[in-house]
Amino acid sequence: MNIERAAVVGAGVMGTGIAAHIANAGIPVVLLDVVPENAMNRNQIAEQAIAKMLGTEPSPLMHPNNARLITPGNIEDDLGRLTEADWIVEAVLEDPDIKRNLYRQLDAACRPDALISSNTSTLPLKVLTLEQSESFKRRFMITHFFNPPRYMRLLELIAPPDIAPDLFDAVATFADLRLGKGCVACKDTPGFIANRIGTFWIQTALLEAIASNLTVEQCDSAMTLFGIPKTGVFGLLDLVGLDLMPHVLSGFKQSLPAKDRLRAIGAVPRLLTDMIENGYTGRKGLGGFYRLKPDAETKIKEAIDLQTGNYRVSEKFRIDGVSHSPEDLKNFLSGGEALNLYAWRVWSDTLSYAASLIPEIADDPLAIDTAMRLGYNWRYGPFELLDLLGADWFVERLQEKHQPIPYLLADRQRLYRTDKQGVLECKNEERRYRPVRRPDGMLSLCDIKRRTAPLIENASASLWDIGDDIACLEFHSKMNTLDPNSLSLTQQSIGVVRDNFEGMIIHNEAEHFSAGANLTLLAPALMRQDWDAVARIVELGQQTYQALKYAPFPVVGAPSGLALGGGCEILLHCDAVQAHAELYTGLVETGVGLVPGWGGCKELLRRWINLPNRPGGPMPAISQAFETIALAKTSKSALLAKELLYLSEHDGITMNKDRLLADAKARALAMIADYRPPEPYVYYLPGASARAALDIAVRNLTLSGKATAYDREIASQLAFVLSGGDTDSLDPLSEQDMLNLERQAFLHLVKQPGTAARLEHMLKTGKPLRN
C-alpha cells in the first residue's frame, strides 16, 4: 500500500504540525477537530490552527503553498472524508477514554485497509487498544512525532505484535522517504525511548543544579560541552513549558515499576511548583529559568536564582580551556569543583540509567542513541558519548565513586566497534556484537570512512571513493568554511576523478554543508592591506568553481543545512544538486559588505536570464538577481531555494538526510552515460542604463530609510557587475568577463572602511552589521 492521502484528527500544535509536514511531503491531508460550542463556523478550530501556522516562525511548512494541501474540517460533519485517507493520525488530548471513543468512530469511518495511529507521548499501546476489536488492533499503532514535527527528525513507532505487516511497512516507508524521519521501533514501555531518557536527564540536571548551588548559566554551559544543544537543560525547559514536567513525571510515576530510578527522583521540586503556580511556565508564560526583563526598554536577559527564586541579570558563562575532545571531557568530569561534580552526577546517572534500560526499552544501544540524537538533538547518543569517554574509564569512575555498574557496561568494552572489514558493530543486551545494518538506499559517508582511507586529503577537505566509480568530495573544516585548502583539494579532486572515476558528489554529513568562505583567513590580508593576496583568493575560488563547472564528468552537489556565500556559489556551479529538504542557502556576501566573487553573480544572473516565462527585456532578470543578492535572501527550505533559483527546476530534493548521499550518487550515475560539460554562456547586458535604473530604486530605498548609505555603496558595485560593467547591450560578455567584474567589485569594496566594519563585526559577533 502507498500513502497517498492522509488525515489528522486534533488540530492542536502537534496535530497541525504533523498535518503541515504531511503536506510538505506533497500529500493532501484532512485536519479535523471538534466543533466548538455555539460555533458559527463549525471548522473554526482547524481553520484557525492553519491560519496561525502560516504566521509561525520557523515555519512548519516548507512552502506556504503547501497549506493548500490541508483541508480543515470537524469530526461531526467530516468523518466521511476519512474514507479517502490511507493513514489517519490521532493527536487529541492525552485522555485514554477520549482517545478510545474516537478510535471506535474512526474504526467505523475509515476504510478497512487504512492505518490509524496515535501521536500519544505517554499512553501505552495496551491502554489505547483496551476493549478495541481484533481488527482494529491489526491496523493500529503509535507514531510518536517530536515537536516541531517538520524539524525534529525522530519518529518513534510502537506497533502491536499482530499489526498487519504491510500497513506497518507502508507507514514506516512513508515516514522515512517522504517525511524524512528517522524511524525507531520502540517497545511498548512508558515514554518509549527518547522521553524516558530525556526526562530522566532533565530531572537529574534540575535536581542536581538546585542541590549544588550552581547558576542556571553554569549548568547549561556544562551540558553543552557534551553535545547538548545550546539551550542546555534550563533553556529547553523554558522552550517546552515548565508545566509539562509535573504531568510527565506523574505519568511516569503511575506507569513505571516501583524500582525504576526515574520514579525515585520523580518528585517535582518546590521551585518548579512555585514558578508554575505564579505563571512562570517558560517562554509561553511570564518567563522561566530565563526571561527578558519585563518593561525594560532594551532587551535584558535575566536568569532565576535557583535558591531564592528571584531573577537577576543573566551573565554569560564560558567554561574556558575545555574542548569537546575526549581527554578534556574526561578531565572535566573528574574535576573537584562544584560544576565538575555536577556534570559527573548528571552524566553518570543518565548514562547508567540508559544502559540499565537495555533490553527493557530497546534491544541495543543504537536505537537509544538514534532516538536521543534525532529526538533531543544531542550530538552524541548516550552510548556514543560513553564510547567517546571510554567505557573502561567510565566504569572505573563508577567504581571509585561506589556507584552501581550496569550489566551492559560491566565488561568495560566499547558499545560500538568496527570489524576487520570496517563494518560497524553494536553491542547487544547479551554483550555480543552484531553488525549495524543500514536500510536499503542509505549510504553513509561515516561507514565509508570507517572502511577506507581518503584518496587525497588535507586539513579542510578529503576525497573518498564511494563505489561505482563515483567519488565524494567532503569538506570538514569548522562549519565547513572554505579556505585555500578546500579549494586546492577541490582542484586536485577534479584531476583524480577525471583519471579514475566517472562522477563526483560534493557532500558532507555535518549539520551544515558550508557557512561560506573563511573570513578569518581574509582578515590578515586585510589588516596588511595586501590586496594582491585578496585578489589571489578571489581568483583561486573563481578558477576552482569554473573548473568544476567544466569538468569532463558530472558533478552533483548534495547539501544539507546552511550553504551560504561561497557554499552557495559552489552549488551554483554543479551540474545538478540533490538537496536535503532542509536547505538554507543564499548569497549573503552583502552582509559583510561584499559581493559574491566566486561566480555567484554570474551564475544567478544566468539562471534568471534563462528562466522560462520571465517578463521580457533586459531588466527583469537583472532586477531579480540584484534584489536576491542585495538583500542576501536565504532560502528557508530546499523548495523555497528553487523559487530563488539557487536550485534549478531540475534539482532534486531528498526528505531524509540519511538518504541524501545515496540519492546524489544515483543522480550522478544517471548522468554519466551522455555527459557533456555545459556550453559557455554569453551575456548581453545593458551596462550603464541598467545601473542608472537600479540606482534610482536603491536611492529611493535609502531615502525612505529601507537601505543605509553603505547599502547603497555595495548595491552600486553589485549593479556594476550585474549590468555588465561598461558594456553595450549589443556587445557579448564571456563568463570570464563577468568573473572579472565580480573580482573588480569585490576588490573595490574590500578596501572600504564600511566593509572593514562589517567584516569585523561579523567575525566578532557572528551577526551582520548594517552601517
Binding site: G616, M619, P620, A688, A692, A693, I696, L703, S704, G705
Partner: protein
C-alpha cells in the same frame, strides 16, 4: 469654429493595485468594457466614431503595442474606427481629449472616444525595463525622481505641515464617502466582468473609517528623515479605466446626444521635474487666459490629488474655495490609475456642471517629469 462638447462619461470601479478586485483583469479588457459601456450609454452610432484615443502612462506588456487599436476590436467597435495610444503620463487621457478637441475644430472628425487605462497591478510603475539615460541621470537626476520625493519637495518649499496634509486626506475620504452614500457615482461607474464571470461594481480604494489618529500613526513613505508624506496622504496605486465621448456640438445636436459641457479652453505647461506637482498652476493660468476668464469665474474644480502636499501647494498658488474643489472627493480616496485619471476628472467636471447647474469648471492635474495640464469646461445652456 466648431464647438466641442463632452457627450458622455463612464469609468470602471477603481480598485487598489495588487490586492484589489481588478488586479486580475487585463488592462485592454478593462478599457474595452468601459468604452463599450460608454457607447451603449450615450447611444452614439459606432460607425460615426473617427478615432479611439487612449491614454496610458506605461504602455508596455499587456498595455503595449498600439493598445487603442486593440481596444477597438475588443470593444467590438466597427473595424473602421481608428485607434491611437497617447502617453503624457498622468495627463495621458486628458491629452486624448485635447487631441480630439483639436481635430474636431479643424474638421478632422466629428466623434471621438477619449479614454484612459492603467493596470498598476499588471504593469508596474516605471515599467518592466526601465533603462534611464545614464548621462542625463547623472546630470539631472531629478528627471527620474520618484513622485513621492517631489511631493516632499513641495511640502518643504511651501511649508505644508504633515497634519495639514492629513486633514486634506481626511476631507477627500469624507467627500468620497458622502458621494458614495448619496449614489453620486452610480451614473458614472460601469460594472466590470472578470474572465471568471465575477461582476466588479464597487470602488475599492476609499478608506472611510480612517481616523486622524490612524493617519498620524503612519511612518513617512518616501523620506525617513523629516519626511511628511505618508501612504495615507498619497494617492494609492490603482487599477482602472475611464472614457469620455467627445464630439462636435453640431453632431450632438443633430443626433440628440447629451451635451454635458463644452470645452472652453485647454493648455499644457512644464516646470522643474523635482516639483512636478505644481504643474497645474501654470497650466491653469494659461487655460484661464485662453478662455478669457479669471479663477474667480470658475464654479467647480477637479484638481487631481496625486498627493495631499502637492494639491495643497497648488492651492496656495490657486486659491480655490473648498466648496468648489473636488466635490465628490479625489484621488487620495478614489485612487489614481495614471492613464485613466485625466478622462475621469474631465468627465467628472462635465457631469458636475450638469448636476450642480453651474457655468464653468476646471479640470487640472500634475504630471510626472514636471508638467501640468488643464481643461476649462463651460455648461451648455
Amino acid at each position: 469654429m466648431n464647438n466641442v462638447v463632452i457627450a458622455g462619461y463612464a469609468r470602471s470601479p477603481f480598485t487598489p493595485a495588487g490586492k484589489g478586485e481588478l488586479a486580475r483583469v487585463r488592462p485592454d479588457d478593462l478599457a474595452a468594457q468601459v468604452v463599450k459601456a460608454l457607447i451603449d450609454k450615450c447611444g452614439v452610432a459606432p460607425n460615426a466614431i473617427e478615432d479611439l484615443i487612449l491614454g496610458c502612462a506605461f504602455p508596455e506588456g499587456e498595455q503595449g503595442l498600439n493598445l487603442a487599436r486593440l481596444v477597438v476590436q475588443l470593444a467590438e467597435l466597427p473595424i473602421s474606427v481608428a485607434g491611437m495610444t497617447v502617453n503624457r503620463f498622468c495627463g495621458s487621457s486628458m491629452q486624448a481629449i485635447h487631441i480630439a478637441a483639436g481635430a474636431i475644430q479643424m474638421n478632422a472628425g466629428e466623434v471621438f472616444v477619449c479614454a484612459g487605462v492603467e493596470s498598476m497591478s499588471r504593469v508596474p510603475m516605471g515599467g518592466f525595463n526601465t533603462l534611464p539615460h545614464p548621462g542625463l541621470y547623472k546630470k539631472h537626476p531629478e528627471a527620474y525622481m520618484s513622485m513621492g520625493e517631489t511631493a516632499e519637495n513641495l511640502a518643504r518649499r511651501y511649508s505644508i505641515a504633515r497634519r495639514d496634509q492629513e486633514s486634506f486626506a481626511l476631507v477627500s475620504q469624507r467627500k468620497t464617502q458622502h458621494a458614495r452614500q448619496n449614489g453620486d457615482f452610480a451614473d458614472e461607474t460601469v460594472p466590470i466582468l472578470t474572465h471568471r464571470g465575477e461582476r466588479i461594481d464597487q470602488d475599492g480604494c476609499p478608506r472611510p473609517d480612517s481616523t486622524a489618529q490612524d493617519l498620524a500613526d503612519l511612518k513617512p513613505a518616501f523620506l525617513q528623515e523629516n519626511g511628511s508624506v505618508t501612504a495615507a496622504t498619497s494617492s494609492p496605486l490603482t487599477d482602472g479605466a475611464a472614457a469620455v465621448l467627445v464630439c462636435s456640438e453640431t453632431y450632438a445636436d443633430a443626433h440628440g446626444l447629451p451635451k454635458l459641457a463644452r470645452i472652453k479652453s485647454i493648455a499644457v505647461s512644464a516646470c522643474q521635474p523635482e516639483i512636478m506637482g505644481i504643474g497645474p498652476v501654470a497650466a491653469t493660468h494659461k487655460a484661464l487666459q485662453r478662455a478669457g476668464l479669471s479663477l474667480e469665474d470658475i464654479d467647480l474644480v477637479e484638481l487631481n490629488e496625486a498627493f495631499a502636499a502637492q494639491a495643497l501647494a497648488v492651492l496656495q498658488e490657486l486659491p480655490i474655495p473648498t466648496d468648489k474643489l473636488n466635490l465628490d472627493g479625489g484621488a487620495i480616496a478614489l485612487g489614481h490609475p495614471l492613464g485613466a485619471t485625466g478622462a475621469r476628472i474631465t468627465g467628472k467636471a462635465a457631469s458636475l456642471l450638469h448636476r450642480e447647474r453651474k457655468r464653468y469648471a476646471l479640470a487640472t492635474q500634475c504630471i510626472g517629469g514636471g508638467q501640468g495640464i488643464a481643461t476649462i469646461l463651460e455648461a451648455v445652456s
